[in-house]
């Protein structure tokens, strides 16, 4: 098993070393391949991700990724989007689940759902034209991509409550009819119970009634917006992990960004990165991945928490406490 480890920029450089420590505590056989990508790399070399970098990544089985800062050059490829595309990581999986002792903005903890975001097309098609008076981007929906994300979501649903919510905006975007129809058909064919919901209505309902949902499947940018919003339900962007899954590769990253405002202070919350390691272990089929939940419960109960959660612990202190428990 070969794991590319990409810290990236900002707090990525702080949370990933700590997450790796937790991973190491499992004593598994890993060949770790460290890679420098992102803003700092772009400053040094003029490119945030090179084709050599991509080849190295493609030589690995999985990636653990921190965060990168967007470079100011509009012609420079986005690291994240390039990797998602090149590795055909079509499913972006974002679990939204409360953590013990942590209260989100709504004060409730009776929810447990997963956002499954189509990760290759929609408004991320890259088909656009920029002018000084008019600019446009093509939002693309294909049957094939809709089918495979729907299949993925149904597979997950079957392991859980068998309930799928399809999120779209087909009352305005006729192109979303294709997505909606394919998702409905796939759910039917898999005997998964489903409903559909308009994205605006869903944003409201996720805040009002988060307990209603199990698996939520949606297009690329809607998933982007809804999953960030749902971090508020959990309590902090520093708590939500994600997995980008393809048929050949998988890529694990905290949902948060490089957070330049708190970078370098050693106070970033490493739990999202540590939970991303948990998703990596699950993906590998490692039965002990649950220990991470126990370890996190342990440190939260002991109030070893970073400032975003009202504590005073450093990134390192939280990480060490989790790693020790594991």
């Amino acid at each position: 098993m070969k794991l590319a480890v990409i810290e990236g920029d900002g707090i990525g450089r702080e949370v990933i070393p700590v997450a790796v420590k937790v991973l190491d505590a499992f004593g598994l056989e890993f060949e770790k391949v460290p890679l420098e990508l992102g803003y700092t790399q772009w400053e040094r070399t003029g490119t945030a991700i090179s084709s050599d970098d991509l080849e190295i990544i493609k030589g690995c089985d999985a990636v653990l990724f921190g965060a990168v800062t967007t470079v100011p050059d509009p012609n420079c490829k986005s690291v994240l989007l390039t990797i998602r595309k090149e590795l055909d990581l079509y499913a972006n999986v974002r679990p939204v689940k409360p953590l013990p002792c942590i209260i989100g903005v709504t004060g409730r903890n009776d929810f447990d759902f997963i956002i499954v975001r189509e990760n290759t097309e929609g408004l991320y098609s890259g088909i656009e034209e920029i002018g000084s008076d008019i600019s446009w981007t093509k939002r693309v929906v294909t049957r094939r991509s809709s089918e495979r994300i729907a299949e993925y979501a149904c597979k997950l649903a079957k392991k859980r409550k068998n309930k799928l919510t399809i999120v779209h905006k087909s009352n305005v975007l006729k192109s979303d009819k294709l997505f909606l129809d394919v998702c409905r058909q796939t759910a039917s064919a898999n005997n998964v119970e489903y409903k559909d919901m308009l994205v605006d209505s869903m944003a409201y309902n996720l805040m009002m009634h988060p307990e209603r949902y199990d698996i939520v499947v949606t297009t690329n940018l809607f998933g982007d917006i809804l999953s960030d919003m749902c971090a508020a339900l959990v309590g902090s962007l520093g708590l939500v992990p994600s997995a980008n899954i393809g048929d050949k590769y998988a890529f694990f990253e905290p949902v948060h960004g490089s957070a330049p405002d708190i970078a370098g202070k050693g106070i970033a919350n490493p739990l999202a990165a540590i939970l991303s390691v948990k998703m990596l272990l699950e993906w590998m089929g490692e039965p002990r991945s649950q220990i991470i939940d126990e370890a996190i419960t342990h440190v939260l109960q002991k109030k070893i928490i970073t400032p975003d959660l009202g504590g005073t612990a450093s990134t390192m202190e939280v990480g060490n406490a989790v790693a020790e428990y594991v």
Copy 2:
């Protein structure tokens, strides 16, 4: 002053008569032009909005609108989108403000901001192609529409805290660079203090720190999603009004839809519709519009509230209580 009154479908038929009663209580000179549009009309005539209807609307100064149910025929024009387009209602204005005695999902009431949504283009361009294997929609951003929505937002900001937040996704959508640049320039030229924020990050921050914002300007679909989400901050979709403003016409509607699930029961919350009447009065420059706030405070304190807020009052009872106070 000629006012088109369109109840539409579902709870639109319940909340609008009540809102009109409140409007009537002001004793202003209005010629009211009732119009039947929407699903029921489509069932009867095969069209949800005809060109004759449009001519009648264009003969009015303003519109008070309830809600319409989307018709199942994909070739049938959307009532709302047709009117927005034909009347060139380019600014969709959605105030997000707590009401007395009502607690939203976050339990806080220290926020007061307005979402100014570009209302004519973006993903609502109508430029799309539908296929069985691939469908697409063009997301269009023009300098002209960005300029006028930015001007509108700046004008509002100057009457308030002079703080503008520009919401976009220009790290992925190069087309949003145009929107962002134009908004920045317009804010600078008007001496309005501004920041910009990515839409995903904004969804999170509006839930975590709603007190930070004053005027939020964004593109069409982002505004659609964020404003529904923000209804959860206020406590119910039944509480948020909106105005669709153009240079010639204005159109006022509650943000909620026709809500078929509760239609016909007489329990729909009329406050969003009543607050839309308040926006109409403000738009007319009527100095007494504030009385509506007082009246609403009065009925909320007396707990004359509909079931969505935990009460037992009917639509009519709430409406009568507000109208009487006025």
